[in-house]
């Protein structure tokens, strides 16, 4: 009887010990609100880039994707796991943006998105990513209302159009001396938003906005709306939209009767593509550019870009350093929250989104980056460029 009791106690103790040991060796349990992405050994972590890779506006997508590629190359692996870049094409259209967002949300190995590139396609994708818990860092979506949607996943390193529109209105009024302008836009979220901000700011400074004219993007003939604008006889035409449409506008402006008027574009109309398409008509036109502070990292970025892609950084669009910083920020946050459990790598989604939002004093190419509570992480300022002698040079009076 005594032996049996001793044996039962021994068995009990052994069982308890085994349970304690088993508890200690149990794999990491995912307690994250939005779930976790689990990667087995040998799998790659997917980082997506979404932008216009084909179509009229492909210069932007191609340029920013190169920034993302360089960032991933420079960063290396996350705790021994490789990063795979998935590039998705929106052709600049909002409908495609929604389709791509759904596609990426369905893939459980996509943990973060650098994107989207255009404000219109970003706007429609934010609720989709919110639902699936995929964190975003946009390099170039500048529409001011995007961070006001109450999203916990959307962040951006780009400046807002609130700032761009007001700075442009000030530059137009004070430095260029225009008093009567016509504001044009392409009807998209970005163009219309920016044009509205600029018009309001210009009127606030005391100028007159003679009219607002919208054009359909993608057309080849804007002579009719330009004739209507010419009837108003403005000093300057401000355009919110992208390079391909701006090129058609400047080519047809002189023929429609606007030879005397200046043309002022935005960050969407900057680039080599605009110069190619508009040719000599682009002479004297303006646009917005993001100057990057000189640093060792930026020199290295420029050299790497030239070496890998055979083109000068900043030729196609102003946003390749933003692409670099977006990807680098996301990877930085990944490093912080990724948990290695045995052979697996576990990435809790909400923790990742919170880590991205909590970025403070991060030294990026575009400057010292800190994210606000709503996801504004912009560091850089803007500058206005003018086409002189077929090249983009700094505009007067800056």
């Amino acid at each position: 009887m005594k032996t049996l009791r001793r044996m039962s106690v021994a068995i009990l103790i052994v069982t308890l010990a085994a349970m304690v040991l088993a508890c200690g060796a149990q794999p990491y349990e995912c307690t994250d609100e939005w779930g976790c992405a689990v990667f087995e050994a040998g799998e790659t972590i997917k980082l997506a880039y979404v932008g216009p890779m084909t179509g009229d506006y492909s210069a932007f997508g191609v340029d920013i994707s190169r920034g993302v590629e360089l960032a991933v190359k420079d960063h290396g692996t996350v705790q021994g796991f490789n990063i795979e870049i998935i590039v998705e094409d929106t052709q600049g259209a909002s409908e495609q943006g929604a389709a791509v967002a759904n596609k990426l949300s369905a893939d459980s190995r996509v943990v973060a998105v650098v994107g989207h590139t255009f404000s219109g396609s970003t706007e429609v994708s934010i609720p989709i990513y919110d639902k699936s818990g995929v964190v975003m860092m946009s390099p170039s979506a500048t529409n001011p209302s995007l961070t006001g949607l109450g999203s916990s996943v959307f962040n951006r390193v780009a400046f807002t159009d609130e700032m761009q529109g007001q700075a442009a209105a000030q530059y137009i009024y004070e430095t260029l001396g225009a008093r009567q302008i016509v504001v044009m836009h392409d009807g998209g979220a970005y163009g219309q938003g920016l044009a509205g901000v600029c018009a309001d700011a210009f009127e606030g400074l005391g100028g007159t906005v003679l009219g607002t004219e919208a054009v359909t993007p993608g057309e080849a003939d804007y002579s009719a709306p330009l004739a209507a604008v010419a009837a108003l006889d403005p000093d300057l035409v401000y355009f919110g939209g992208y390079d391909a449409d701006a090129a058609v506008l400047v080519s047809q402006m002189a023929g429609a009767g606007l030879q005397e008027a200046m043309f002022f574009g935005c960050d969407g109309t900057y680039g080599a593509n605009y110069l190619n398409l508009a040719g000599s008509s682009a002479e004297g036109t303006f646009s917005t550019y993001v100057p990057i502070p000189e640093s060792e990292a930026f020199s290295k970025f420029r050299t790497d870009y030239q070496a890998d892609y055979g083109q000068e950084q900043g030729e196609l669009s102003p946003f390749s350093p933003h692409g670099y910083d977006s990807a680098a920020l996301l990877l930085n946050a990944l490093d912080k929250v990724a948990v290695k459990s045995g052979d697996q790598l576990i990435i809790p989604r909400k923790a990742l989104a919170d880590a991205v939002r909590a970025t403070a004093d991060y030294s990026g190419l575009t400057g010292n980056i800190s994210c606000t509570a709503v996801g504004e992480c912009a560091a850089a300022s803007i500058k206005f460029m003018q086409v002189q002698g077929g090249e983009w040079t700094e505009g007067p009076g800056q």
């Binding site: 890779m53 084909t54 179509g55 009229d56 492909s58 210069a59 009807g187 004219e213 919208a214 054009v215 359909t216 993608g218 057309e219 080849a220 003939d221 002579s223 009719a224 709306p225 004739a227 209507a228 010419a230 009837a231 391909a244 090129a247 058609v248 080519s251 002189a254 023929g255 429609a256 009767g257 593509n273 190619n276 398409l277 040719g279 008509s281």
Partner: protein, 399 residues
């Protein structure tokens, strides 16, 4: 008293249908009121702006007309809508682009080969040397542009024939919907093939210098009394009529006339009209159906190629999907004028172009909504007059 029943179509009064007449009256009243307000009360645009709108509309309309001619020809004979027609136009445009680029690369874009010849002739005739130089330059230019046209039309013709052989001929016995789907598939295939071959970046036509898109005649329209140092002068406002625009308009009228002659006066045209009227009987009469249909597509391809090069020369902008929207609008134009009717396609095209350019201005609508206007017109025409404005069929003989 005018007998309305004799003038208006029968359906207006069929079975007590009062909705359509009421709608027509309300709509016309609204339109007239808007026109009155814009033209006489508000007077936003001066006469020079209206002329600019009209010119822009006529030129755009003539491009739509040439593309619509291709649609209408194929529909008239096969009763099938060739949705890949826009892409055939795009390929013609790209060919023209590469031809001009080849000339430019060889430095021959402004090559004045005819100069010495013309000057020699002029010297012999005793004409002024300046006029001779200009004539020589123009003659050289004509050759370059003509070569671009011929090559563009050739490539489009070959594409159209290939399209017929591969995508449509095997489906000739199938129900009407099947070739339609095949056409859409062919259209997507050609768009993506062009994207793979030529890249997605937009390209711009580099015209010969004399044919620069900014060059043209300046017309002085309207204007006002302006005082210069005590003297009041009537100063007109300038309106630019570009050379490329005039060429586009003239070429499209020429092409329509040529097509009419082809369909009405030649043997091949007679065969086409026969096949359009009754395919089986025509076959029994000894007409080779396959050859006639092949010829139809060839002609429609030639027209599309011409439209493509004209588009490139005048509008300048080129990308793999450039054929999509004009193709759609041209189809609308063909339906508007009466599909299957050559003159109808031409009329429909010009009407649509003019409506798109003048419509937003006349109705006080923003220009952003011009596509809404264009397609609303299509819907209205289909409701009130489904056979189109000129509404006849290709097979009818007109003398």
């Amino acid at each position: 008293m005018v007998d309305l029943k004799k003038i208006l179509p029968k359906r207006f009064f069929s079975r007590g249908n009062w909705v359509q007449p009421v709608l027509a009256v309300v709509f016309s009243a609204f339109l007239l009121w808007r026109l009155y307000r814009i033209l006489f009360v508000e007077q936003i645009y001066g006469p020079d702006t209206w002329v600019k709108f009209a010119i822009s509309g006529l030129i755009l309309g003539s491009v739509y007309a040439v593309i619509a001619l291709g649609y209408t020809l194929v529909y008239g004979i096969l009763f099938m809508i060739n949705f890949a027609h826009g892409e055939v136009m795009m390929l013609g445009a790209y060919t023209g682009y590469f031809t001009l680029e080849a000339f430019r690369g060889a430095g021959m874009l402004d090559w004045n080969w005819a100069g010495p010849i013309v000057e020699g002739i002029a010297a012999g005739l005793g004409a002024s040397p300046d006029a001779a130089t200009e004539a020589g330059a123009i003659a050289s230019l004509v050759l370059v542009v003509l070569i671009a046209f011929v090559l563009g039309m050739l490539v489009s013709m070959l594409t159209a024939i290939g399209l017929e052989r591969i995508a449509y001929r095997p489906l000739r016995q199938a129900p009407r919907l099947v070739p339609l789907i095949s056409a859409i598939g062919a259209s997507l295939f050609l768009q993506n093939a062009a994207q793979l071959m030529f890249g997605a970046t937009p390209r711009v036509y580099n015209n010969p210098t004399l044919l620069n898109r900014d060059a043209g005649w300046t017309l002085l329209v309207g204007g006002e009394w302006v005082e210069y140092a005590g003297v009041t002068v009537w100063e007109g406002k300038p309106v630019l009529i570009t050379y490329t625009g005039v060429i586009t308009f003239v070429m499209s009228i020429l092409l329509m006339v040529l097509l009419l002659i082809l369909v009405q006066r030649t043997k091949m045209g007679k065969a086409m009209r026969a096949v359009a009227e009754d395919k089986q009987t025509a076959a029994l009469m000894g007409i080779d159906i396959d050859r006639v249909i092949g010829n139809t597509f060839a002609v429609s391809g030639l027209l599309a190629g011409a439209a493509g090069v004209l588009w490139g020369l005048h509008m300048g902008r080129l990308n793999p999907i450039v054929g999509f929207l004009p193709g759609l609008k041209a189809f609308t134009a063909a339906v508007l004028g009466g599909i299957g009717n050559v003159a109808g396609a031409m009329m429909g095209g010009i009407t649509l172009g003019v409506l798109e350019a003048l419509g937003p201005g006349l109705l006080g609508m923003p220009f952003q909504l011009k596509d809404v206007l264009a397609f609303s017109i299509l819907v209205l025409v289909l409701i009130f007059r489904p056979q189109g404005i000129l509404g006849e069929v290709l097979s009818e003989k007109k003398m």
